[in-house]
């Protein structure tokens, strides 16, 4: 005010006034915007999106997600379905397939897992590595993970069956999982897949399959999300009818427990089997529709606060 009144006294031109107001404005901005200065300081740190999916599987298939280092997931995955017989005695549980699995995060990017299924008697092991992480506002636009599994088909086969030798009972699945967290609520995934089957019962059937998987997650609330997934096989088995596995499910998290409920036509929970050998279509006729349930308990072996100081 003093400056302005002095200025008036001097009766000088408008230019001086405008210069002074400009300078005043600079000093005003300079003094006011402390938070803006801090915002500029923040910008240097590159951040990555978390939780594109909430678990290493969307429903039955793999997601880009690996687990944090030092966490062990103990899970029981169960599928129930009815046989087509009319005089079924049980409600939805004529047959069931259970897969018990252990998955351990070696690092934040590397996940190892082993599992065994009861119904189709497959034992499987896998390794998944998160290659590229999606950045927040800058950095990579997508998350990319590489997945490789091996599964051993241990079911007894007839004496004359060509697959009795154990050397070709191993199947392999390789996937490139590409996912994007589009908004905080919505994630999409696309997964080019290569399957090598160990046992081929008919000479007309291909041993190697190419498939592509699609998956999505929509967050309904803080702890609940809607998930769905589908696989398309480019060169399916010819000797019997197969269908692309489809699922629609709900993920529900309660502190250390993760519950996944789903409706699906995939009986198996091992990649090579559900991608190439799903024999039912997705509809409400028995035995096509399965009710699936994954229960996962997470144990933390590392206290992240320790050793931080």
């Amino acid at each position: 005010m003093l400056i302005l009144s002095l200025n008036m006294k001097l009766m000088k031109t408008k230019t001086i006034v405008s210069i002074l107001t400009f300078l005043l404005a600079i000093s005003f901005v300079n003094g006011q915007e402390l938070l803006d200065i801090l915002d500029k300081e923040h910008k240097d740190t590159l951040r990555f999106t978390e939780a594109t999916f909430k678990y290493s599987r969307i429903t039955y298939g793999q997601s880009v997600q690996t687990r944090k280092s030092g966490t062990l997931d103990v899970s029981a995955n169960i599928r129930f379905w009815n046989t087509p017989e009319e005089r079924s005695q049980s409600f939805f549980v004529d047959r069931l397939n259970t897969r018990f699995a252990l998955e351990y995060g070696i690092s934040d990017r590397l996940l190892l897992g082993v599992g065994g299924s009861t119904f189709d008697e497959r034992f499987d092991g896998f390794i998944k590595y998160k290659l590229i992480r999606q950045g927040v506002s800058s950095g990579s636009p997508v998350t990319v993970s590489l997945f490789q599994n091996a599964s051993y088909f241990s079911d007894a086969l007839p004496y004359s069956s060509p697959g009795r030798m154990s050397s070709n009972r191993l199947s392999f699945t390789s996937q490139i999982l590409i996912a994007k967290k589009i908004t905080s609520d919505f994630s999409l995934q696309i997964a080019p897949t290569f399957v090598h089957r160990g046992l081929v019962f008919n000479d007309n059937d291909p041993q190697n399959h190419f498939a592509i998987g699609f998956g999505g997650r929509y967050k309904l609330g803080g702890h609940v999300s809607l998930v769905s997934e589908y696989y398309y096989v480019a060169n399916p088995i010819k000797s019997f009818d197969t269908y692309g596995p489809f699922s629609l499910g709900i993920n529900w998290e309660l502190s250390d427990v993760m519950l996944q409920f789903m409706l699906t036509n995939a009986v198996s929970m091992v990649e090579d089997a559900f991608i190439t050998q799903t024999r039912n279509n997705f509809n409400f006729k028995n035995p096509n529709l399965n009710f699936g349930f994954n229960f996962t308990y997470t144990i933390h072996f590392k206290n992240k606060l320790k050793g931080k100081r």
């Binding site: 400056i3 001097l10 000088k12 001086i16 210069i19 002074l20 300078l23 600079i26 000093s27 300079n30 003094g31 402390l34 938070l35 200065i37 801090l38 915002d39 300081e41 923040h42 740190t45 951040r47 999106t49 978390e50 939780a51 909430k54 687990r67 944090k68 280092s69 030092g70 966490t71 927040v136 908004t183 905080s184 609330g221 803080g222 702890h223 998290e253 309660l254 502190s255 250390d256 997470t298 933390h300 590392k302 206290n303 992240k304 606060l305 931080k308």
Partner: protein, 180 residues
């Protein structure tokens, strides 16, 4: 007359050069939630704070996803389900240190009054803080209580026993001169 204008301009410029501000780039903020079911503890060592010594104004900016928890899952749930750090990445505080004398050496205890904004909600806070000056280094330490309900954070009924209604927050900032 022209000299007069020149003097004014120079004085403004000199103010700009000497920022008169101090900044803490590795400030520490930790919080604790004690319940009979479980104790939750988290720590963030990358908190930014700045103080303007001319008008005693203070600002703090906290990146929510930089909090480290004992369990990795807690961190994910904190960011995904409670704080929603995708939508609200930062918590900020903007206020004034009442009766703060930057030239005073040693320890002074002062009230800091201002607005704390987290998860899209604003809350006026009055925090008692200890300010220590050694040479040109200022250290501000203190603690306050945050009521979960004030910040519109939804906790599902099943987990209500796991998270305290009032969270204790501790902070420590070490400031150095800020040059822009």
């Amino acid at each position: 007359m022209h000299k007069f204008i020149l003097v004014i301009m120079l004085s403004f410029l000199s103010i700009q050069k000497d920022s008169g501000k101090i900044i803490a780039r590795q400030g520490n903020v930790s919080f604790f939630s004690y319940t009979p079911v479980e104790n939750i503890k988290a720590e963030n060592n990358q908190v930014l704070s700045i103080v303007d010594l001319k008008n005693n104004k203070i600002a703090v900016s906290i990146l929510m996803n930089a909090f480290v928890f004992e369990k990795a899952l807690m961190r994910e749930h904190f960011n995904e389900s409670y704080i929603e750090s995708d939508i609200y990445p930062k918590a900020t505080f903007e206020g004034k240190i009442i009766d703060f004398d930057p030239s005073m050496k040693g320890v002074q205890t002062r009230m800091i009054k201002g607005d704390f904004s987290m998860h899209g909600s604003n809350k006026e806070l009055e925090i008692k803080a200890k300010i220590e000056k050694q040479n040109d280094v200022f250290v501000i330490t203190g603690s306050f209580e945050a009521v979960v309900e004030d910040y519109d954070i939804k906790i599902p009924p099943l987990l209500r026993g796991n998270i305290a209604k009032i969270i204790n927050v501790d902070f420590k900032f070490e400031y150095e001169a800020y040059e822009n």
